[in-house]
């Protein structure tokens, strides 16, 4: 009897929480985080109910502008765009350019960290057991586009050339903590980006070549991707050896390694692991530098899950917001536009 009463009370409490979702009581990031936790734990409590819990994550749209008149054409016609005015730059003043670049780095690093945090730092099984019900196979990847960051047309290329998010994340601490962004995203396991260039340590049979290209737009999407499979273990082991990280731990990847031969990435079609062709990024100079801000953080190993297929990989990657790159990474996209 007491158990029954407790069960009913518990259910009503959960229900009360769920009915709060979508109201103004929570910020969109909080709603997302709560829905991720709800979905991940739903399968634990009642197997098969994961698909019933909607992922309430809305893509944040951030426009970084140098002045009030700066506009992000990338967001034309779209709603809920947050415009952030960067510190002013004096012509020919490298110190002010550096300051503006620093602010861009900060926003990119925060977007990446917030997304990683919202998604349970990659350790929660968010899509796995719902994959079939949602219409895609388990080996196919599912994504959430956490944030789109666009650079307004009034931001100078000379400023973008100074942007180095990777270095910023290695040197600066997350507000309110004593850990750097890199440490915070890897549970303190590492303080610098893993070097994926040590080719030959492990070998992955490449099934398909994927090419990551630059985009003509200065817009970056922070995409969280997860892929899960029953037979992913061996591939993972090899991949982690190449990456120089330990299975079951989080890692961060050098942006430059994403365009170097031998780097392994995930694809939406086949479990994981295909070699990236080293064709480099389109464009030169400042544009190249901006495109170089393709950073990645990941977790490979066992998820917190009761499902049969526990192993998989989560990857948070900053990629150019274009059809080709999104399709290369994501079999399907969840969350709100």
């Amino acid at each position: 009897m007491i158990m029954l009463i407790l069960a009913v009370l518990g259910f009503l409490i959960v229900l009360a929480f769920l009915t709060q979702l979508g109201t103004d009581s929570y910020s969109s990031d909080e709603i997302c985080k709560l829905s991720v936790l709800s979905r991940a734990t739903a399968a634990e409590v009642l197997p098969g109910t994961q698909a019933s819990v909607p992922l309430q994550c809305t893509t944040n749209k951030i426009c970084l502008a140098a002045g009030d008149n700066g506009a992000c054409a990338q967001f034309t016609g779209e709603k809920s765009v947050v415009k952030i005015i960067l510190p002013k730059v004096k012509v020919g003043d490298s110190a002010s350019e550096e300051q503006q670049a620093l602010q861009i780095e900060r926003h990119l690093a925060e977007s990446m960290y917030n997304c990683w945090n919202m998604m349970g730092q990659g350790k929660l099984d968010i899509f796995g057991s719902v994959s079939k019900e949602l219409g895609f196979s388990q080996a196919q990847s599912a994504c959430v586009i956490c944030t789109r960051v666009a650079i307004a047309d009034d931001v100078n290329n000379s400023v973008l050339a100074r942007v180095n998010t990777e270095e910023y994340m290695e040197r600066n601490t997350v507000p309110g903590t004593s850990l750097t962004y890199v440490q915070a995203m890897t549970d303190g396991a590492t303080s610098s980006y893993s070097d994926f260039r040590s080719e030959g340590k492990g070998k992955i049979e490449s099934t398909e070549a994927v090419q990551i290209e630059g985009s003509s737009q200065k817009e970056t999407a922070f995409v969280f991707m997860q892929v899960k499979s029953k037979t992913i273990g061996d591939v993972l082991t090899n991949q982690l050896q190449v990456a120089g990280v330990v299975a079951g731990s989080a890692f961060v990847a050098k942006p430059s390694s994403l365009v170097s031969a031998g780097r392994f990435v995930f694809t939406p079609a086949g479990a994981i692991a295909t070699a990236v062709i080293a064709t480099g990024v389109a464009g030169t100079g400042a544009y190249n530098a901006w495109q170089g801000q393709i950073a990645a953080a990941g977790y490979c190993g066992e998820f917190v899950s009761k499902s049969e297929a526990k192993q998989g990989c989560s990857l948070l990657q900053a990629i150019p917001y274009n059809v080709k790159d999104i399709r290369n990474l994501c079999g399907t996209i969840e969350g709100n536009i």
Binding site: M1, L4, I5, A7, V8, F11, L12, V14, L15, L18, T19, L21, G22, S52, V53, P54, L55, Q56, T59, Q74, T76, G77, E78, K79, L134, G135, F136, C143, I145, P268, Y321, N322, V323, I326, R327, C330, G331, T332, I333, E334, G335, N336, I337
Partner: protein
């Protein structure tokens, strides 16, 4: 003896009654929860479909005559349950909610497109004489597939390139929405805009 048995029976009946009441409350709560959850899910899909339409319409409205623009149409869970379609201002069989204007609609994939758009879909009207939606992919649903005159195209579950163009000459103007690059062109003769 009889009194004791009667009291015992009353106790048992009371316990059963309480159990039944709690069970009923529990069942009602569970059913309410399921309905609530499913409504959140359905609303989410519907809201995403509406946002997709607003994104396309917003970009169309930002175009000047003769201009074109290409952007990424972001997918969402359940996007393949929705189609995008359009009608020009003189075309028959348009959803009533388009009134006497050209319109672009995103509607659930069920039965007659026009009816679906009228009942559960989202439409945006334009002052152009026509709005054309085109697509050339394996996912395109052609007239014959649907069995209706209207062309309707599935929304993407991951991402699709969307090209929009505002064509205008001395006598007419129309907006062209292409969900994937298409080679052939359509021409919709229409009455001039006043």
């Amino acid at each position: 003896m009889i009194g004791k048995m009667g009291r015992k029976g009353e106790d048992t009946a009371l316990k059963n009654f309480v159990s039944i009441i709690i069970a009923v409350i529990g069942i009602v709560a569970v059913v309410y929860g399921i309905v609530k959850l499913s409504s959140i899910f359905i609303n989410q899909e519907s809201a995403n479909a509406k946002n997709t339409l607003e994104n396309i319409a917003g970009r169309l409205e930002a175009l000047e005559a003769g201009q074109s623009s290409t952007f990424l149409l972001q997918g969402f869970s359940g996007a393949d349950n929705w189609v995008v379609s359009a009608w020009n201002n003189t075309q028959s069989g348009r959803p009533d909610k388009c009134y006497f204007k050209s319109c672009l609609c995103v509607c659930p994939l069920e039965g007659d497109v026009s009816e679906s758009c009228q009942q559960k879909g989202f439409c945006q009207t334009f002052d152009y004489t026509g709005v054309v939606v085109e697509q050339l992919t394996a996912r395109a649903l052609m007239d014959s597939d649907l069995g209706y005159e209207t062309q309707a195209f599935l929304l993407p579950v991951n991402a699709a390139e969307c090209r929009i163009e505002l064509v205008k000459d001395s006598s007419s103007s129309f907006a062209r929405v292409q969900l994937e690059p298409k080679i052939t062109q359509h021409y919709y003769p229409a009455t001039p805009i006043s």
